[in-house]
């Protein structure tokens, strides 16, 4: 019985103390027809337990199977350098096995860390406040949209402007999550040359009422939207502005709080680049920041600094009346368990990197991606697609179907990028590529050579 401490003697003594003869008797209230016997018989697929040694062998084989791959994909998940200290500290039992810090006095470690996180993330976004995490970037965007619907009293429409340069998966998630609340998502087209929101789509009629505008930075194509103009335009038309940004990018680029005259109202996005491994897509965490005036609409946990009985500073969950465990059906969101441990990692990551370290990471990723695009564009038939400046990923087009090229690169253990054939068929054989600070020149060269051979060889790609 793995993990169960009871000896037979102890079990017997406990049963005696309870006053029953067998453990089975404790389940007497389960109707007979549903009891183990019956259900058990129906359960096929009985399988023996494994010791840690045995499951270890299996898991090591499987991890080895997936190992050793060279990655040039981004598209919302980025492989950055993570200092070893991040996860050595994060997996300390006291962080790893603690619960949500409801008992503040017994959770000052987690609480102070989360308060520090809120401060760092607010500063990075140039916003007033941050919550303590949501599930991921996509659901954070959905929650941001729900916030604007609650908060924008001037708008009655529940219509949200969302450019096509927002990650298509995010748009899908938002659709799933907000559709039952009468919210309409209106997509904005992009300029086919520049790969940013087409200004022509921005004309709003006299009676048009939109609740909010979402602005991505960088956009899904890696390009930089004209965030200042868009923000001012939206504010002029009574909308709230949601910035959906990459947290490493805004170490260098204008953060949502600085956009236009007044800054965006909400900043959200995917926290993964800040110290979280790729892990096939999760666990990551969504961040969500806003202006002070919106704080009561913010979903998720918030940590406040306060004082104890002896007037010493301390930290506690606060404004809990926003949350489901108090407000129930009227809560700002249904979220309960969030992504606390990822935020722990991310906070330690930001402390280890510091502002200058994060800037350097951003700069180097930017430079490496430019080297990558330059190198790939030198291959015959490969074109750099959009003309706008880009941060650390960009779109190239290939002379062959991207899906086939990517499949051929598998044989060389290379993830070449993300195919846009399904989500943006109008772009042709388009692929999104990225090189963070981790990608050395040698690796870029290895990729380029592999791509050359794949493109050259007719047979290989079928």
């Amino acid at each position: 019985m793995p993990f169960i401490p009871h000896t037979q003697d102890e079990t017997n003594a406990m049963l005696k103390a309870i006053g029953v003869a067998r453990i089975e008797d404790l389940f007497a209230e389960i109707p007979q027809g549903l009891r183990a016997g019956k259900a058990g018989q129906e359960m096929d697929g009985q399988y023996p337990g494994m010791g840690e040694m045995e499951i270890g062998r299996l898991m090591r084989e499987r991890a080895t199977e997936d190992d050793g791959v060279l990655c040039f994909a981004g598209g919302g998940a980025y492989q950055h350098h993570i200092p070893a200290a991040v996860w050595e500290l994060t997996t300390r039992g006291e962080f790893y096995t603690a619960y949500t810090p409801y008992q503040a006095e017994a959770s000052q470690g987690t609480l102070q860390l989360l308060y520090e996180y809120q401060s760092m993330m607010s500063s990075l976004m140039a916003m007033d406040v941050s919550n303590a995490s949501l599930y991921d970037g996509a659901s954070a965007l959905a929650e941001a949209i729900l916030m604007t619907v609650r908060a924008n009293r001037r708008s009655k429409s529940k219509r949200i402007l969302i450019p096509k340069t927002v990650n298509p998966n995010y748009r899908k998630v938002v659709h799933t999550l907000v559709r039952h609340q009468g919210i309409e998502l209106v997509e904005l087209d992009y300029d086919s040359d520049k790969g940013v929101v087409d200004p022509a789509t921005l004309r709003v009629g006299e009676d048009d009422d939109y609740t909010a505008l979402v602005i991505p930075l960088p956009g899904y194509f890696g390009t930089l939207e004209d965030v200042h103009r868009l923000t001012d335009w939206a504010h002029d038309h009574g909308m709230l502005v949601i910035g959906c940004v990459n947290p490493i990018a805004v170490a260098l680029l204008s953060p949502p709080g600085e956009w236009g005259e007044e800054g965006a109202d909400i900043a959200c996005g995917e926290g993964q680049p800040l110290g979280i491994p790729l892990s096939s897509g999760g666990p990551y965490f969504g961040f969500l920041c806003c202006r002070n005036k919106l704080v009561r609409q913010l979903p998720g946990r918030l940590i406040g600094q306060t004082r104890d009985l002896e007037d010493r500073p301390g930290f506690a969950l606060t404004l809990q009346a926003r949350e489901q465990h108090i407000r129930r059906s009227k809560a700002t969101s249904n979220i309960c368990t969030n992504q606390g441990l990822m935020v722990t990692a991310s906070t330690i990551f930001m402390s280890l990197m510091g502002t200058s370290g994060l800037e350097q990471m951003a700069t180097t990723s930017h430079q490496n991606s430019h080297k990558l695009v330059e190198r790939l564009s030198a291959i015959g038939g490969v074109e750099h697609h959009f003309s706008s400046p880009f941060f650390h990923e960009s779109v190239i087009t290939l002379p062959k179907p991207v899906d086939e090229v990517l499949a051929a690169l598998v044989w060389q253990d290379v993830v070449g990028g993300i195919s846009l054939q399904q989500s943006f068929p109008e772009l042709g054989n388009a692929m999104l590529v990225c090189a963070t600070e981790l990608r050395s020149e040698a690796e870029i060269e290895r990729f380029a050579t592999a791509l050359e051979s794949v493109l050259a060889d007719g047979e290989e790609v079928i």
Binding site: G40, T97, A98, T110, H180, N292, N338
Partner: protein, 492 residues
């Protein structure tokens, strides 16, 4: 001391520089083509520390936490059992950590094999038809389940159904999730013995009813005995049954939601499958559905094909056109699911039943001991399941010592407090869940602490009201926290 107070401008943790020694400072044009207006005007203010300062700061912070690895943590509804270290080590192998989610499935057969197996295990143990692992936590699983119920009714053109029923004792996420799916929430009362009031249910159910959300054992810590009758009532009225899997630990391998008549269930793997709570998350909330609801499961799921080369593949919308869609940018909390998988494989099917056996044994023992020590059970005369409720209404009235006071004083005795003030309908309650991984000695020490506190409550109540005394801080002022909001060091 806050990390910001240790920060010093100009300090650099150059061990973490990401450009090599030679290159440093050489590039004169750091940003290609980025217009000045797009650059950040004021630098972010992350702390600037040496690596030792950071390591020391967070190591010391960590020590201020209670955790399973350091303390008994009998937090009802949360299933704070041992989180195997082996699961952590095995999930954190580089092969798993470095896999990009957009990478070809051919480069992820290792992880996908685990996920596929886990889908099967969860399907088996719940008695259902199919699993989607994608929800990030229980609440997202609830959303998914209720959205699936809605999709089912919609698909049948049965769109007038506007209400979801929820017991008054339910967890807050249940009504909140139902509302996110566009439903009105109707509360159903609980009878004195802790069961759903079936007569009330009968009178409430109607053509407007889309479904009911239950957890069994309920949040009151008792098994819903008339579950088959409830399922019949619901199904006859055209409503469906949602099972909140938070309490699955008590019945694992003993009885299955699918056999009880539920149509869909979420599983909090961070409870029953022992993935860590991490100070608040992440968890994962796989949803498992019967035949009726399986077509609506969220995507992606992992499929297994007979073709060779690439055995496992992602099942997307093309293959599941009726799906409620996508819940996260990729496919959920895979790192968490890997830990759950390791745990499930270590248990095996026999081990699963043992989880139920011993979690119920422990709770029953602790309940009996506390009852004998003079504490009042919220629902006397019922069997405990994996948890049970003590009400301190009497102590609160007679001695002025609240459940909160008990909770805080328990911290001084080295035990994390049970869940307080939930479920809301029981006054001054402690919801106590020891879990199967605790030993008798620990539970005996807990009883002793409770007895001591009761004595203190009578003899020196200030000791209890002033608690805790031995922690890094004394009792914190929650009212002040909310009134004088201080959420950001840079903006106070």
């Amino acid at each position: 001391m806050l990390i910001f107070e240790r920060s010093e401008e100009g300090r650099r943790n150059s061990a973490q520089r990401v450009i090599s020694g030679g290159q440093q400072g050489q590039d004169e044009r750091p940003l290609t083509g980025i217009p000045e207006t797009m650059k950040r005007a004021t630098a972010a203010r992350l702390p600037e520390l040496s690596e030792l300062q950071t390591v020391r700061h967070y190591t010391r912070l960590s020590q201020k936490n209670f955790s399973i690895d350091t303390h008994f943590y009998p937090l009802g509804s949360c299933t704070m059992k041992y989180n195997p270290r082996g699961a952590n080590t095995l999930a954190m192998q580089t092969g798993f950590l470095n896999r990009h989610p957009a990478g070809d499935a051919a480069l992820g057969q290792g992880v996908m094999a685990c996920l596929y197996d886990l889908q099967e295990i969860l399907r088996e143990v719940t008695g259902m038809e199919a699993t989607s692992l994608t929800p990030a936590a229980g609440a997202q699983g609830e959303f998914a389940g209720v959205a699936m119920i809605r999709a089912y009714h919609d698909a049948r053109g049965d769109s007038e159904r506007s209400e979801i029923l929820v017991p008054d004792a339910a967890h807050g996420t249940n009504p909140a999730s139902a509302v996110m799916c566009g439903y009105k929430v109707r509360e159903i009362p609980t009878d004195k013995s802790g069961d759903v009031d079936v007569d009330a249910l009968r009178s409430i159910v109607g053509p407007q009813t889309a479904g009911i959300m239950l957890t069994n054992p309920s949040t009151l810590g008792v098994f819903e005995r008339r579950i088959e009758e409830i399922a019949e009532i619901m199904h006859q009225a055209g409503g469906l049954l949602y099972y909140d899997g938070a309490n699955l630990n008590a019945i694992l391998g003993k009885t299955r939601p699918g056999d009880m008549g539920f149509d869909v269930i979420h599983i909090n793997v961070h409870k029953t499958f022992s993935t860590p709570h991490g100070g608040g998350g992440p968890g994962a909330g796989p949803v498992v559905a019967n035949k009726r609801l399986a077509p609506y499961l969220p995507i992606p799921m992992v499929g297994k094909s007979a073709e060779d080369g690439c055995e496992y593949y992602w099942v997307e919308e093309q293959e599941r056109p009726e799906s409620i869609g996508r819940l996260s940018a990729w496919s959920g909390n895979i790192g968490v699911l890997l830990r759950a998988y390791v745990y499930a494989k270590m248990l095996g099917s026999v081990g699963m039943e043992r989880v139920a056996d011993y979690s119920v044994l422990n709770a029953s023992y602790l309940m009996r001991r506390l009852e004998q020590a003079g504490f009042t059970l919220a629902i006397p005369g019922r069997r405990a399941t994996h948890e049970f409720i003590v009400t301190l209404k009497k102590e609160s009235k007679d001695l002025g010592i609240s459940a909160m006071d008990f909770a805080k004083r328990l911290l001084d005795y080295g035990h994390h407090a049970p869940t307080t003030y939930f479920p809301l309908l029981v006054p001054e309650c402690l919801l106590i869940e020891p879990t199967e991984t605790e030993d008798r000695e620990t539970m005996d020490a807990f009883v002793e602490a409770m007895v001591t506190i009761l004595r203190e409550a009578k003899e020196s109540p200030e000791k209890v009201k002033g608690a805790p005394w031995t922690l890094p801080v004394r009792r914190l002022d929650d009212v002040r926290a909310a009134r004088e909001l201080d959420l950001n060091w840079y903006n106070r």
